[in-house]
Symmetry: D2
Subunit: 93 residues, 4 copies
């Protein structure tokens, strides 16, 4: 059981949509579409991926981190270090 | 002919790889993988998309914008407004 | 008492440095320095602010959120909604 | 003469405002304000710096890059490599 388990279908649906967006971008390039229009779609796919990441992170904090916090000690510390590192990667990506 | 035309195959290959990454993320969720590991892959896919965008933008500036600049006048102005808007979308996405 | 209280002096020092960076950028513009060099300094100041934000967030999760999680219930929920919103603002800024 | 020269006063004013924002963030920390409220101000200052960067970049493209493009050859190439590197730094910061 993970934070995202209860929303699994919704995440799978969103990711299939992102997959379709990326395939669409490849098709635009294959069809010689105008660069700026391709870039607009790349920004949209990036934003969609970011939204997925923010959703997963929110559920991770709500479930795994809160549970680890309840247990306390070293596990709690590790989970928080791990979560902060994931947030930093997101902010920088 | 667009800025990216001569590198078309390389872009298509990179986008197929991103498509595979997104499909892999969906599979991780379907297989109940650990949230933080899923997030790491989402950050990697986001970075890969951003790299594609920076490449497309560089070639757009080098070809379309430079050509428009040579023609001058209103077209050049429009192309620069358009390029700046695309850069702003990228920075914000 | 907040998450950052014990590192207060370090944060104040880092923010004074960012303040100096921003003042330095203004001076570069006043001295007509080359645009790209100004932009490099703006990126550096932005990165420094982001690092401050990631530090504050990490301590917030470690203290306020963990404490709220221990108390549980509605307070815990509110704190997590608030933390996720702050993370989303950071990712988008 | 740079791209930003004619808007110099406006940029100096915006940067003084960012400087004030950063000083305000330090004061909030010194006054033990709530972490999330501090983070909101850090995001606002980051966004303000990003807006300055996008403005400077737009003017740089419009003036320096267009002029280099008119001259053509190696100088034009160098300016575009430089501009693309600055855009990449912005996107990653």
């Amino acid at each position: 059981m993970h934070g995202y388990t209860q929303d699994k279908d919704a995440y799978l649906k969103r990711l299939r949509r992102v997959e379709g967006q990326v395939r669409g971008i490849a098709k635009m390039i294959d069809d010689d579409k105008y660069c700026i229009d391709v870039l607009t779609q790349v920004s949209a796919a990036t934003k969609a991926l970011e939204a997925v990441a923010l959703g997963l992170l929110d559920e991770h904090l709500r479930h795994c981190v809160v549970q680890a916090a309840a247990e306390g000690g070293q596990i709690s510390d590790q989970k928080l270090t791990e979560a902060s590192a994931a947030i930093a990667r997101l902010v920088k990506s």
